[in-house]
């Protein structure tokens, strides 16, 4: 039986097409995935992301615990309110999950992990906790509803819908969060647009959603979330990286903090790593659609598309692909699409930021 978020009944009333995502019954779209995508790029959309799990980590040892558990260093969070993106690695330096950690207050953190990996992560954290000398408290917050409101007008829509959050968040910088009464408001997201992610008691899920609708935010499903994050050049766990690859092979070397002597899980493996593959962006020059698992032929050997699809903002197909290390931005490669080799260009993600093409003009195929 699939798990359901506090908004499941509402999604049904709205006529959403529901699908299994990581064991959760989630809305794929409410009519048109492409219209929802454009709505986020041009105005504001709201996504139910309550399938993701927030973990509150507190107690005297929480900072030391997270400095050991995560590949990025929470010591970089100098002031409460700041957020950090990190991989969770195993001892072999392979990616168990990717997550965002918010520094809530002195020795208090909130970690948000993926839905499909949440149970595995909990077991992992518990094992690390028991192995350590001192152990923080780890509280899974299944009692929270999580909404992502994204788009150039997203913050204004949130302030209209939930006026009590306005004062505390009007000057909230990007990648920061704050608690306003019962609402945890973070200026983070997974779309390449400005916006907020909201966490609050599940009992208010429908009233908050309705208020956001009345304020003009459009309901958006996981289909649009996927094309938006792909255009934004953001990895999807389980697709672009998993327990078989390292951060360096996943375009995420920048999230691993090897400065100083900090001992974290996976560090030893990564220090001896000589990656032979890397993750790049591809743009298809002509017609057709790049999709996950398609073969990529380069001058330096073969690669494989990890995520691909039609990019509504660009009107053409794009992908993330794992290719041999010598492949470089600007290279011409071919993707095997339905038994034909189609010409593509290697680019550096992101493809789209704040509603605009950031990879420049793309030539027509030869």
């Amino acid at each position: 039986m699939l798990k359901r978020t506090p908004l499941n009944a509402l999604h049904r009333r709205l006529g959403a097409k529901l699908v299994d995502f990581g064991g959760w019954e989630m809305p794929l779209h409410y009519g048109s995935q492409i219209e929802e995508h454009h709505r986020v790029r041009s105005d504001a959309g709201v996504f139910d992301v309550s399938h993701m799990l927030a973990l509150d980590i507190g107690g005297a040892d929480s900072r030391a615990f997270l400095r050991h558990a995560l590949a990025n260093d929470v010591a970089r969070l100098e002031r409460p309110g700041r957020a950090l993106y990190s991989c969770l690695l195993n001892e072999r330096g392979r990616v168990l999950d990717d997550l965002i950690v918010y520094f809530v207050g002195e020795n208090r953190y909130r970690v948000v992990v993926n839905a499909g990996t949440a149970e595995k992560d909990l077991v992992w954290f518990e094992a690390l906790r028991q192995r350590g000398q001192r152990a923080p408290d780890i509280a899974p917050r299944r009692d929270l509803c999580m909404l992502a409101v994204q788009g150039p007008n997203a913050r204004a829509r949130v302030w209209d819908a939930l006026p009590e959050t306005r004062e505390a968040t009007a000057a909230l910088p990007r990648f920061h969060a704050t608690q306003c009464g019962e609402f945890f408001v973070a200026r983070t997201g997974y779309t390449g647009e400005d916006g907020f992610e909201l966490m609050f008691p599940a009992a208010w899920a429908e009233s908050a959603w309705d208020a956001l609708m009345r304020a003009g935010a459009a309901p958006c499903g996981l289909g649009a979330r996927d094309t938006l994050r792909l255009e934004a050049g953001m990895n999807l766990y389980g697709q672009d990286m998993d327990e078989t690859v390292t951060p360096a092979e996943s375009g995420l070397a920048w999230t691993v903090d090897l400065a100083g002597e900090r001992e974290f899980v996976g560090r030893q493996a990564l220090e001896h790593e000589h990656p032979e593959r890397k993750l790049v962006g591809l743009v298809l020059l002509g017609r057709g659609v790049l999709r996950a698992h398609q073969r990529v032929v380069t001058a330096h050997g073969q690669g494989r598309i990890t995520s691909g699809g039609f990019a509504p903002t660009l009107g053409r197909s794009i992908a993330l692909a794992r290719v041999p290390n010598p492949v470089d931005v600007g290279d011409a490669v071919h993707a095997e699409v339905r038994e034909r080799l189609l010409e593509a260009r290697v680019v550096k993600p992101p493809f789209v930021r704040n509603g605009r093409n950031v990879i420049g003009p793309i030539e027509e195929p030869k």
């Binding site: 097409k17 995935q33 289909g223 094309t227 017609r287 039609f310 197909s317």
Partner: protein
């Protein structure tokens, strides 16, 4: 489910309509577009191409997947709907107005071997 009574259907989710000039228009059903989701790409057969019934002759690709389109009856392609190349989402808006190609059928009686609306609706319902 929208399954117009006047059309004929294949088990592989194409619709076929006999036009006044004796040609047969072919598209994909509303049920098929609904299952595929937003269309992003269409590939059409060239005019003059000879098709046998059941052969792959076009591709419709959505945000979700690519799907082959099969010729419901044998014949020669006399027209392809080039307007769809730039507006594939027309298929989502009205699958029965969005014909993909027109055939001059080798044997118009072959249409009779296709499913009628009721049989197709039953098949589609059983797939829900």
């Amino acid at each position: 489910m929208n399954v117009p009574a006047e059309l004929r259907y294949s088990k592989t989710h194409e619709w076929a309509r006999l036009e006044a000039d004796g040609t047969v228009s072919v598209g994909i059903t509303d049920h098929a577009q609904e299952r595929l989701g937003d269309m992003v790409f269409v590939e059409l057969p060239g005019v003059g191409k000879k098709l046998s019934a059941g052969i792959e002759c076009a591709v419709v690709e959505s945000v979700k997947a690519a799907a082959d389109v099969y010729a419901p009856v044998s014949g020669e392609v006399v027209a392809a709907n080039a307007a769809l190349l730039d507006a594939p989402q027309s298929i989502n808006r009205d699958a029965y107005a969005s014909w993909l190609f027109r055939l001059k059928p080798d044997n118009p009686a072959e249409l009779g071997s296709l499913l009628d609306a009721r049989a197709y609706a039953e098949q589609a319902a059983s797939e829900e």
